[in-house]
């Protein structure tokens, strides 16, 4: 398939997986709970990366998709006593329908305009879940007492990590194929994609559906980890901000970048906690994100690649 895999790719992935599997032995329960959030954030960031990082269709309303997944499974399990084994796949399917709806405007508009429509989608969803059938959605207060899939931090950690790593690996491989090149080409010049005989519509639809699949998967498992859902926290511009910043800090359009970005952010916050107890942390984290984005828009991934290349060069020279 021409994935261009080298021995060090295998080594790095395996090393990372082993390290992460040993994590519960090394850290406290509290830290483990933090990493669980990092895992979910990584899933959402990867979903954003597939769509916005790759194709350049910036989504400012990604919680729209995540929310469809989360609400669908929450409503099905709580109100209709559907088992999670059916509810989660259905939730993912619903999210993919949502992805198709979000794709429709992308047939006509791009750039800032698309970004704003996606924001409008999120706001609309936020308003709708509070108003339409609050007996199902729980209205403004959301829902609690939902089925949880795991008990205890360790199990929660293993489940979230398993999902995250499967998503990350499969998407990383997928984006290394020619499809990844074609999707990147859309961000660079959609007209030339057409002029090369490829249908951008087909490619974009695929990107939206894949992104929605991952968002729905993450959203559904996330509610069944939390056991509750609250519209104010979900359809929140701060949540959008966190997803986008994780992706950009890590390195957009690289899949592993957003994954590490999510870990970096979560740990940065965690690390700063003893020194800066309150809102200062978000302030510092925002400033770091802004500076990094403005001066290295390709993110930590690029910085690491540059270091790696220098290291390789030193070795070749020495």
């Amino acid at each position: 398939m021409g994935l261009g895999l080298k021995w060090y790719h295998f080594a790095l992935w395996i090393g990372f997986i082993i390290f992460m599997l040993l994590m519960p032995e090394m850290v406290s329960k509290g830290t483990l709970r933090t990493i669980i959030f990092a895992n979910f954030l990584a899933i959402f960031a990867i979903s954003w990366d597939i769509l916005s990082g790759r194709t350049g269709y910036i989504s400012f309303g990604h919680p729209f998709l995540i929310g469809i997944g989360a609400y669908t499974t929450a409503i099905l399990t709580k109100r209709f006593d559907v088992g999670v084994e059916y509810a989660i796949p259905l939730a993912i399917a619903m999210t993919m329908i949502g992805g198709t709806i979000m794709f429709l405007p992308a047939l006509r508009i791009k750039g800032s305009y698309f970004a704003l429509v996606s924001l409008a989608f999120m706001e609309l969803m936020y308003q709708l879940v509070q108003v339409i059938r609050p007996d199902l959605t729980g209205g403004t207060r959301g829902m609690s007492g939902l089925v949880t899939l795991t008990r205890g931090a360790v199990n929660g950690y293993y489940l979230s990590f398993t999902i995250m790593i499967i998503v990350a690996l499969s998407m990383w491989l997928l984006m290394r194929t020619r499809l990844g090149t074609a999707l990147s080409a859309i961000a660079l010049n959609e007209e030339s994609v057409k002029g090369s005989g490829l249908s951008p519509t087909k490619l974009k639809l695929f990107a939206f559906m894949t992104s929605a699949f991952v968002a729905g998967l993450g959203g559904a498992f996330y509610v069944h980890y939390l056991g509750s859902i609250a519209p104010r926290a979900l359809f929140d511009i701060n949540f959008v901000f966190t997803i986008i910043v994780a992706t950009l800090i890590g390195g957009a359009s690289t899949i592993v970048g957003p994954m590490f970005g999510a870990f970096f952010l979560t740990f940065l916050l965690e690390y700063l906690r003893p020194y800066l107890p309150g809102a200062e942390r978000y302030l510092i984290y925002g400033v770091i994100a802004l500076l990094l984005y403005m001066y290295q828009p390709k993110g930590l991934y690029q910085i690491m690649i540059n270091q790696f290349n220098r290291f390789k060069k030193d070795e070749d020279d020495g």
Binding site: G2, R178, T181, L188, N189, S192, K194, S196
Partner: protein
């Protein structure tokens, strides 16, 4: 004999302006035709309609006998017709090889995933338009105008066309680069490629074409053997009138 490309009564209006005014012509299999006319005559607009980037106001465009007016641009390209642009439009962050890779891809997501890139073919195409081995990893921002036109040719050739439409192929090139592109076109003519070539550089165009069509204000003003067309008095005045 069915014609590779046949255009009948093509009209394109932009608001009050008629950019293509009842144009009809055929291309012959394996023949090369020059499309000439002063700036703003409507040459690029004809290309855009043939490729489906602009929808014609009226008229018929037939590819090997079947009407393609309803097809999308990628669908037309799959039927074997492809164009270059007056202003090259490369993928800015991609290397030369990756640019060509996009042209080589089949329009099937499944095949994109399951089949790897055809590196030999990518390199072969890049070398055939005159890139050197060292250029293959360059990105467009480091390439000259001549290289960008070569890249555009290579990506167009990658779609495996039987008919190629070339828009202002020689604009902004050095003499050496003009010769390089001319040689490339000559080679493809030997392999029976059908060409429609727009160029302002009539001297460079002459050896590359069998026939010529001259247009002005969206209308055909002369048609036939290249030497006859350029000595036509209407053609001469149209050029003198604007340049």
């Amino acid at each position: 004999m069915v014609k590779p490309l046949s255009i009948k009564n093509l009209v394109k209006n932009f608001g009050g302006l008629t950019a293509t005014d009842d144009i009809s012509f055929d291309l012959e299999e394996g023949q090369s035709t020059g499309l000439i006319g002063p700036n703003g005559a409507g040459k690029t607009t004809i290309f855009s309609q043939i490729m489906g980037e602009y929808r014609q106001t009226s008229g018929i465009i037939e590819l090997y006998g079947s009407d393609i007016s309803k097809l999308s641009t990628p669908a037309r390209i799959r039927l074997g017709i492809s164009r270059t642009y007056q202003v090259p439009r490369p993928f800015s962050d991609f290397s030369v090889l990756e640019n060509i890779r996009v042209g080589l891809m089949p329009d099937s997501i499944w095949k994109m995933i399951t089949q790897g890139p055809n590196r030999e073919r990518e390199i072969e195409l890049a070398l055939s338009v005159g890139f050197s081995e060292d250029d293959l990893q360059q990105t467009p921002d480091t390439l000259s105008m001549g290289d960008l036109r070569k890249l555009e040719m290579a990506r167009t050739m990658a779609t495996n066309p039987k008919i190629m439409l070339l828009d202002e192929v020689f604009a902004g090139l050095t003499v050496g680069e003009i010769n390089q592109i001319a040689k490339l076109i000559q080679n493809m003519r030997k392999e029976n490629m059908t060409f429609l070539i727009v160029s302002h550089d009539l001297k460079a165009l002459e050896p590359l074409v069998d026939d010529a069509i001259a247009i002005n204000y969206g209308k055909i003003i002369a048609q036939g053997a290249f030497s006859e067309v350029i000595s036509d008095s209407a053609v001469r005045t149209s050029y003198l009138g604007t340049e």
